[in-house]
């Protein structure tokens, strides 16, 4: 399988799998499609670092309040509070052992009408890229789901964690939206919202209908979804950077505070494995934005670099 090149992208299945968050098979009936999972969401560009007065980047460390000393990661255990300052200790191995058996498979046993899936359920977005030289079964499923307006629902396990997931098809691409479980959503009744009275004044409805019509548009405008605060922060940073105002260089110390040499932008790998529409979304081009140059070379990073973006994308903030 790895001898031939994938027709879609110039990367073989092994490359795609190795650089994905998760890889396994998507199956419906007896058809199994090897796929690799990539994040569709990434965290914002503008995280601030904490520095000492002289600009030295600070490291986050754990401290034992009893011994009043700093402790390392391997001296930590996870404890579940059971009252009276007591904890039940649960180890990594014990948690890993709870992960269900079928963890390499997304088995689509249920298809539903696309509109039945309330977006309130959607937690995080991912894309599924074909992870074999044959894309036929992938394209077949994507096309049929898209044309019939159907979505698949399944559960799957990624990194010791079970997810309820909706498999959607759009533009010939399969995506996976992890979904909140029903008991993770509140209803208007549990919040205590008033129920509607049987009669709503039609004149008021018409007034709102006109106002809605006045603001009707066919498309989304991405500018309305921009993070103004991030923009403002980046402008401020650029101004100060140009002036050389409050600029400190602490390369070795930055690495010491946060050892993370290799970062792979999984979104970049995804774009390589699927292709980007007209190349129009090349990421924000901005002088001074971190990583806005080096994303290409970073994708060639080592496997250990995967952990950072993978973990970030996998967890909830």
């Amino acid at each position: 399988m790895s001898k031939k090149r994938a027709p879609s992208n110039g990367h073989d299945g092994d490359y795609v799998r190795a650089h994905s968050l998760w890889s396994g098979t998507l199956s419906f009936g007896l058809v199994t499609i090897p796929v690799a999972l990539f994040p569709a969401n990434r965290s914002g560009r503008v995280g601030l670092r904490m520095l000492d007065q002289d600009g030295t980047p600070l490291a986050r460390r754990w401290c034992c309040p009893k011994e009043k000393k700093l402790i390392e990661n391997d001296e930590l255990v996870r404890g579940y509070p059971v009252g009276d300052d007591k904890h039940v200790i649960v180890t990594d191995d014990e948690l890993a052992a709870l992960a269900p058996r079928k963890s390499r498979d997304i088995d689509l046993r249920r298809f539903v009408k696309r509109e039945e899936l309330d977006p309130s359920l959607f937690e995080r977005g991912y894309f599924l890229a074909p992870a074999s030289e044959s894309t036929k079964a992938y394209r077949l499923l994507a096309e049929v789901m898209e044309e019939t307006g159907r979505a698949g629902v399944a559960t799957f396990v990624m990194r010791d964690q079970e997810y309820l997931v909706a498999i959607l098809a759009q533009n010939g691409v399969l995506s996976a939206e992890t979904m909140r479980f029903a008991d993770e959503l509140r209803s208007p009744a549990t919040i205590g919202l008033p129920a509607r009275r049987p009669q709503v004044e039609r004149a008021a409805v018409r007034r709102f209908a006109r106002a809605i019509a006045a603001h009707a548009a066919d498309k989304l405008d991405r500018r309305e979804l921009e993070d103004d605060h991030a923009e403002g922060l980046l402008e401020l940073v650029e101004r100060k950077h140009k002036r050389g105002d409050d600029v400190v260089e602490r390369p070795e110390l930055a690495a010491a505070a946060e050892p993370h040499a290799e970062i792979i932008d999984l979104m970049e790998v995804l774009k390589q494995s699927l292709g980007v529409e007209g190349g129009r979304r090349a990421g924000p081009k901005r002088a001074g934005a971190p990583g806005s140059s080096g994303a290409g070379d970073r994708t060639s990073g080592r496997a250990n670099g995967r952990k950072t973006p993978a973990r970030r994308a996998g967890g909830k903030r």
């Binding site: 560009r45 498979d105 309130s120 405008d221 996998g314």
Partner: protein, 318 residues
């Protein structure tokens, strides 16, 4: 591009969704309100469908006014998400004491008190532009109660990848107006794109109606989202009509209604059970993952046909 995350905690497994570990300090407030000892039982009771105590569930987190039409509509915002994660504390293995977090200067090895900490933006590897409190305050959005309406788009126009946290909106006085907007919005088949400032942060959100109540789902900033419309489908030879027909039949055979209540976070429940067992001193068993072989190009049609036969049989026997 993606910036390395600056906040990082222990091992990968402590960051998973249903089980989160954190220093004890952060959970202190929760501990007080819920009573830590009863939590596993409480979580299961709630999972079984009982309403949570209304003091936490029914509290509005913000108030604002939707500016649409001539009369502004005051609303209250409620979280629609119920946190069910199993919250662990991180403990020092040696003495089982909940640990706390310190920011340490790696040069001196000294913990730096919060009032001495400065903020900085990493413009390139190891190069920081320092920002002081006043500068950061100067770029904070102005506090406002206005919820601005940007546009109303047809349902389905917003790619699923944008949706973030859901909120319910409730009336804040004007019930007539609230229910009238909910009805008008439902009838329009559209959802609104709204913008507002909450807790010093700008938000965009989708205003939706289920016909009775209004909800608002926060939308992720554009630069954090890769939507399905941004990527291309994998290329390949045209699909065979016979295979397409069979795939359609198979999807139709597996179709059913969507009932979210049918699915349950088994892992979370197993974690809670494990905790209960360990509390009483029980044992744990191990399981292993396995993978299925891929369907090859040549056998795709056969696999489809066999699947159809299998689902047909299942239906007969069911």
């Amino acid at each position: 591009m993606t910036k390395p995350n600056t906040t990082r905690s222990k091992a990968a497994t402590t960051r998973s969704r249903a089980t989160r570990a954190r220093p004890a300090k952060a959970t202190a407030a929760r501990k007080k309100t819920e009573g830590a000892a009863s939590e596993p039982a409480a979580t299961r009771r709630r999972a079984a469908g009982q309403a949570r105590d209304s003091t936490t569930a029914g509290r509005a987190i913000w108030k604002g006014t939707i500016a649409l039409g001539r009369t502004p509509l005051p609303v209250k915002l409620y979280s629609a998400v119920e946190d069910r994660s199993v919250h662990f504390h991180l403990l020092h293995a040696k003495d089982k004491v909940p640990i706390s977090q310190r920011m340490v200067n790696p040069k001196t090895g000294e913990a730096v008190p919060s009032e001495r900490i400065r903020k900085g933006f990493e413009v390139e590897d190891g190069v920081f532009v320092m920002l002081d409190r006043e500068e950061l305050a100067s770029i904070e959005p102005e506090a406002s109660r206005d919820i601005e309406v940007a546009r109303f788009v047809k349902a389905g126009v917003i790619a699923p990848q944008y949706y973030d946290r859901p909120y319910w909106l409730g009336p804040d006085g004007d019930r007539e107006g609230y229910f009238a907007l909910a009805e008008a919005l439902r009838e329009s088949g559209r959802e609104g794109v709204l913008r507002w400032t909450m807790r010093k942060k700008r938000y965009a959100g989708a205003l939706r109606s289920d016909g009775e109540h209004l909800s608002l789902i926060a939308l992720r900033p554009a630069e954090e989202v890769l939507a399905a419309t941004d990527v291309e489908a994998p290329p390949g030879r045209p699909l065979v009509a016979a295979e397409r027909r069979m795939a359609e039949q198979l999807v139709a055979a597996l179709e059913g209604p969507f009932d979210p209540g049918e699915f349950r976070d088994e892992f979370r429940h197993r974690v809670l059970e494990l905790i209960e067992r360990k509390k009483r001193g029980g044992k744990v068993k191990k399981l292993r993952p396995r993978a299925a072989p891929a369907t090859s190009e040549g056998s795709l049609e056969r696999a489809l046909a066999a699947s159809l036969r299998a689902t047909a049989k299942e239906r007969k026997t069911a």
